[in-house]
Symmetry: C2
Subunit: 224 residues, 2 copies
């Protein structure tokens, strides 16, 4: 298809598509004349992922390019490509190295991972961004007067484990390994607001159940 | 305590504390002379919440003021105050009203809540921000070519339900109703990066388990 059709089918303006092409976020089309190029379904798919990352996930251009490069690295197997691509996603500020709160947070996180039996594997060694993001979050909680122990984090980690199973089940519905990789990255980013809004809805539901006026008949009594 | 001690104990500069006082985010101290005021433990606690909202949650000043006003509204019971305060937290963009993707998303979300048996209660009617945030997220997924059905969302909602139980269990460890309300708001915001980073770690763990080189001995075989 030509650029105009790619634009219509993707809902992305031709100006934006040209910008993505210039920035290397979208591979060039097959040149058919001096001024025209031909695009295919793979371009359409890739455009979908680029929009998910940039417009919804607010991933900076440079990070998006790193993610996409990892997806295309033929020297890596499926699992490693996925690990490298998630690694390149933004993860918030780096932990402050020498801060006592950060050191304590690091010990807490290590103890948590050990208790869960999670192996330091592809994608989350102590140098990985996801590990750093968790350490930063736990250190911030402590600094603000809400210290959290391994026991506090464990139920969240167990829920996260279930979420990850749902995530990969969704991804496996896509047929080809390439589509699966793209879906894995897009859904990691796009399901974040789904999850955070569901948590707030669930909090309201649980709060109604515990403290609400209509909690009649049930065996549950308000704890406070 | 005086302003200087409040600053030392909270780790917040006196200039920032004065700014919070001017903006009405912190109630005024008890005036003891023409130039000095006396602050107490409640100020310290409130400062902790204000920092959590503004510095970590990046909540705009006006929204933070709304959250804090809700917490102090004596005309409401505990559950309602919590609902109103969470309502005032930022929830991302409003759903686009007339878009077909938004209409479909609204039906999906309604069907999901019905299937879960969640009552539209305090804090999450169809006009609530958390409901709107979920509709927007589901509509965005569809527009980007990742439509999701009720069955896709259900496992995420079930995990969110468990998270909400963990959230309220944490909150109930605080003794007074005032402290519980402050903790509920602070932990809603501060646990978001904890949860998102744990999900990424869990994804890596699950990906290793399914596709990794070391998955020997287990009954699980790679699905792809």
């Amino acid at each position: 298809m030509r650029l105009a059709e790619l634009s219509t089918r993707s809902g992305v303006s031709t100006a934006t598509i040209k910008y993505y092409l210039r920035e290397g976020l979208l591979p060039p089309g097959r040149r058919v004349s001096a001024t025209q190029a031909e695009y295919d379904e793979k371009h359409l798919q890739r455009l979908r992922l680029v929009r998910a990352l940039i417009q919804v996930g607010r991933v900076p251009i440079a990070s998006a390019r790193e993610v996409l490069t990892a997806l295309e690295d033929d020297s890596l197997d499926h699992n490693s490509r996925l690990g490298v691509a998630v690694w390149a996603l933004p993860h918030g500020p780096e932990p402050a190295a020498d801060d006592p709160a950060t050191q304590t947070a690091r010990h807490t996180v290590d103890a948590l991972l050990e208790r869960l039996g999670w192996q330091y594997g592809q994608g989350y060694g102590p140098d990985s961004p996801a590990y750093g993001m968790l350490v930063t979050a736990v250190a911030t909680l402590a600094r603000l007067g809400y210290p959290c122990a391994v026991e506090d984090l464990a139920p969240y980690a167990r829920s996260a484990g279930q979420l990850a199973v749902s995530d990969l089940d969704l991804v496996e519905r896509y047929e080809s390994p390439d589509e699966q990789l793209e879906a894995a990255i897009a859904l990691t980013v796009l399901y974040e607001p789904v999850l955070l809004s569901l948590r707030r809805l669930a909090q309201a539901e649980e709060s109604n159940r515990r403290y609400g006026p209509k909690s009649s008949g049930g065996p549950k009594t308000p704890e406070e």
